[in-house]
C-alpha cells in the first residue's frame, strides 16, 4: 500500500558506515518512516528509493559473515606494506609511505572497531531483499530495537482492521 504523505519525516537508522561515506556515490542508507522503511541506494549519479511497508514485512533474517575478517586482513597487510616503505629513509618514500600507512591504518582500525559483519535480508510476500546498511551485528541489534516494535504494532493494527491493499 502506498503512503499518501507529501513530505514525510524520516529517522536515520544507518548510513552505511564511515568508509562508504568517504566514497561519494556508493552508499546505501536506511531510514525509518511512519509506516515504512526507506532504503536509499546511491549509485554515483542516481539515488534509488525502496520502501518496505511495515504491514508487508514477513521476516528479517541474519547470518554472520567473514567479510570483516577478510577486510581487516587486507587493510592490515596494506598498512604494514606501506609502513615498510618508511624503511627506505628517502624523503619521498617516507612521505608516500606515511600517507598510505595512515589511510590503510585508519581503514583497518575502523573495520575492527565496527565489529563483526553479517548478511541481512528482509522478506516480504513478493521478494527477499538485502539490507546492506544493517550488515554489522552491532548496528543490526540497534536497528532491530527500533524497527521490530513498529512492525509488530503496524501488523497487529492492520490485521485487526484490514483495509484496502494494492
Amino acid at each position: 500500500m502506498y503512503s499518501e504523505l507529501g513530505a514525510m519525516a524520516y529517522t536515520k537508522i544507518s548510513n552505511g558506515g564511515v568508509l562508504m561515506s568517504i566514497l561519494p556515490g556508493l552508499r546505501t542508507k536506511l531510514y525509518l518512516g511512519t509506516d515504512h522503511l526507506l532504503l536509499i541506494e546511491q549509485f554515483i549519479l542516481v539515488e534509488r528509493y525502496k520502501r518496505f511497508y511495515f504491514r508487508d514485512i514477513q521476516a528479517i533474517t541474519r547470518a554472520n559473515s567473514a567479510r570483516w575478517v577478510v577486510f581487516s586482513a587486507i587493510w592490515g597487510v596494506c598498512a604494514l606494506v606501506s609502513a615498510l616503505i618508511l624503511l627506505f629513509h628517502h624523503p619521498v618514500a617516507v612521505a608516500i609511505g606515511s600517507i598510505f600507512a595512515l589511510l590503510f591504518g585508519f581503514a583497518f582500525v575502523q573495520t575492527v572497531v565496527q565489529g563483526p559483519t553479517c548478511v541481512v535480508r528482509l522478506q516480504t510476500a513478493a521478494q527477499s531483499y538485502r539490507i546492506a546498511p544493517l550488515e554489522r551485528v552491532r548496528i543490526f541489534r540497534k536497528g532491530m530495537e527500533a524497527i521490530e516494535p513498529l512492525i509488530r504494532n503496524a501488523q497487529e493494527t492492520s490485521f485487526a482492521n484490514p483495509g484496502p491493499t494494492l
Binding site: E4, I44, E47, I60
Partner: protein
Amino acid sequence: MAIRLNCPRCSEPIPATSAGNAQMLRCPACSATVEAVLFPAMLIEPPARTKIQIARGSEAGCYFHARYRAVTPCAGCGRFLCELCSVNVGARFLCAECISNLRKQRSESGLVHHAALFDNTALFLVIGPTISLFFSIFTLLSAPAALFLSFYYWSRQWTLLRRSRVRFAIAIMSSIMLLLGWAVVIYTIITSKNNVF
C-alpha cells in the same frame, strides 16, 4: 505450521516453524546459523486473485479494457477502471497513467522511486578527468559543463531527503580553478609563440 524462509547467505530454503518470533536456525545447504525474526504477516495467506467480470448490456466498461466491467472511476482523470486497472494509492483509486504522471511531477513523494544526483554528476565531471591525468585535457569541456550543472541545479535538484549543497560548492570552486588554470596555460602558450615570431 511450516513457513517459507530463505537463507540470507545462500538463498536456499530453510525449514522453520511459526512457533516463536525469533528463531535460531541452521541452513541445510551452507550450514550457516541464521537468526530469523518472524512477523505476523508471515502467517497471513496471500489474498485471492480478483475476479474480473465481463460488462453486460448497459453496464459501464473499463476505459482500457472495454470488455471488462468498470468498478471504480480514476480519482485523477475520471476514467472508468476495471479490477485490473484500478490501483489503490492511499485512500484513492488511480489508473496507471495518473500514477506515472504523479511520479513525473513528484507531487507525491511516496510514489517516487529514483532521483538524479546532479551534484555528484558535477563533481565527477571535474574530478574524474583531473585525477585520470591522461584525460585531463577533457576538463576544458567538463569544467564548464560542471559549472553549468552546479548553478542550474543549485536550487532545482530534487531528492526525497534534504541533501547538502557542499558537493555543488566543491564542483564550482574546482571548475573555476581548472578554468583559470587553462586560461593561464593558453595565455602562456600564445605569448610564448608571439615572442618566437
